[in-house]
Symmetry: none
Subunit: 239 residues, 2 copies
DNA sequence: AAACCTATCTATAAATA
DNA sequence: TTATTTATAGATAGGTT
């Protein structure tokens, strides 16, 4: 695609390698973007330049893509980088159980069913393996939640500790405050509030776990973070 | 690059979309490969087709790339103006006079989020209480599943026991069969199969635990492709 | 579906500013 | 060095088999 044909091997000249890197990187991102639009696919591209700089493209949140990726069986082959000729790359298609025709089951229906099952209902149709898998997932979930709880508790401890110190500080060195109780309460309030705010902010957000049997209606949403620009490509200065 | 210019918008025709998907996917992978070689870069590409199938390319182990990616601050982002192109859904459009636009969350969205959280993702917004509640639910779920597993195991035991008895019976009273090994294997097979059948029957229905997160669009179940009816025979997951 | 064709369109190597 | 230009190699849309 240029003035002359080239062989696909590492470009030794630094500056032309950089130029080519920039051009082809952009080209790749463009192609990725087109593919995602034309074929309604979810595409994520991650590139580390030889200097270690990160460039990425994703037509949806990269995080989502990676999460999805990790939830799939992550087997794959390990290529053996041979210097000279063709590289054997990991270029795989991981098919999966797959959804067939009658799989037209509505996503919502699917999700609902899954959720029900996660909560121990409607387990009859599952194979032993499915059950085991689900149990594992749940166990994973519990662990994640426990971590989060711990983390949350620690964070709060930190805040409380500071609060306390502040209070002691002020108690031991009562200054110009006209009413000692005033600063005390206001201080407490302000800090506490910041904590509550965090929770409250997500109050509606928190899942409604009493969904035991009352699915079905739309409800107030858990504010989804910056769902704004679904597309992004990182572009940093040249190297 | 073809007989005619095309605009970058979702290809509506299913089969040509699939063809294009395949071609461009390969093209993208090739470009990715060339880039990695020419410029000595580390490149990973992850693609989920609209049917949820995963395709990936990586010139080194994808795992390494993702690890590296996660270790970098996911800073960056020069958002790119995406194509205008709206979800042209015949009906469910902006019929609703915007009420807290992003305050109303689609039920599916809700379910998905909940499910994600059940699996330990996206827990940041939850309060301590929510977390505790969720953990409890998960624990409940696990117990239910354990019960179900036990029950299933017992049922299978029962079947196997019968099988065994039958076998013994036949063994002790060898009848007119010419080859005793024949009935043996066939018998085993038939019964085993009936068990498997039960599971398999629900195989598709069974939850897809890699529920990921790509339920981006509302689909309104258009006419079902009739051409795909005999498809069930092909494409079986060997497992 | 998969493979092949080929007219056209794109990406880009190399030159140039 | 980065941006622009331009000649070509390469990718691919739409057909055909």
């Amino acid at each position: 695609m240029g003035r002359g044909k080239i062989v696909i091997k590492k470009i030794e000249n630094l500056s032309s390698r950089q130029v080519t890197f920039c051009k082809r990187r952009n080209g790749l991102f463009k192609k990725a973007q087109e593919l995602s639009v034309l074929c309604d696919a979810q595409v994520g591209v991650i590139i580390f330049s030889s200097t270690g700089r990160l460039y990425e493209f994703a037509n949806t949140k990269m995080e989502d893509i990676l999460t999805k990726y990790n939830n799939k069986g992550t087997e794959s082959s390990a290529p053996e980088p041979s210097e000279d000729l063709e590289e054997t790359d990991t270029d795989t298609e991981k098919s999966q159980p797959e959804q067939d025709a009658n799989e037209v089951m509505d996503e919502t229906e699917m999700l609902r069913l899954t959720l029900m099952r996660m909560m121990g209902k409607d387990l009859d149709g599952l194979s032993f393996k499915d059950l085991q898998q689900m149990e594992d997932k749940l166990a994973e979930g519990i662990l994640a939640i426990k971590s989060k709880k711990e983390q949350k508790a620690l964070t709060e401890n930190e805040i409380l500790r500071k609060e306390l110190n502040e209070m002691r500080q002020n108690y031991l060195t009562p200054i110009l405050t006209s009413n000692p109780l005033d600063w005390r309460s206001s201080s407490l309030k302000s800090t506490t509030k910041s904590v509550d705010q965090e929770n409250e902010h997500f109050a509606d957000t928190s899942l409604q776990l009493r969904l035991s049997s009352d699915f079905g209606r739309k409800r107030k949403a858990p504010k989804i973070e910056s769902s704004t620009s679904p597309e992004s490509a990182s572009q940093v200065a040249s190297e």
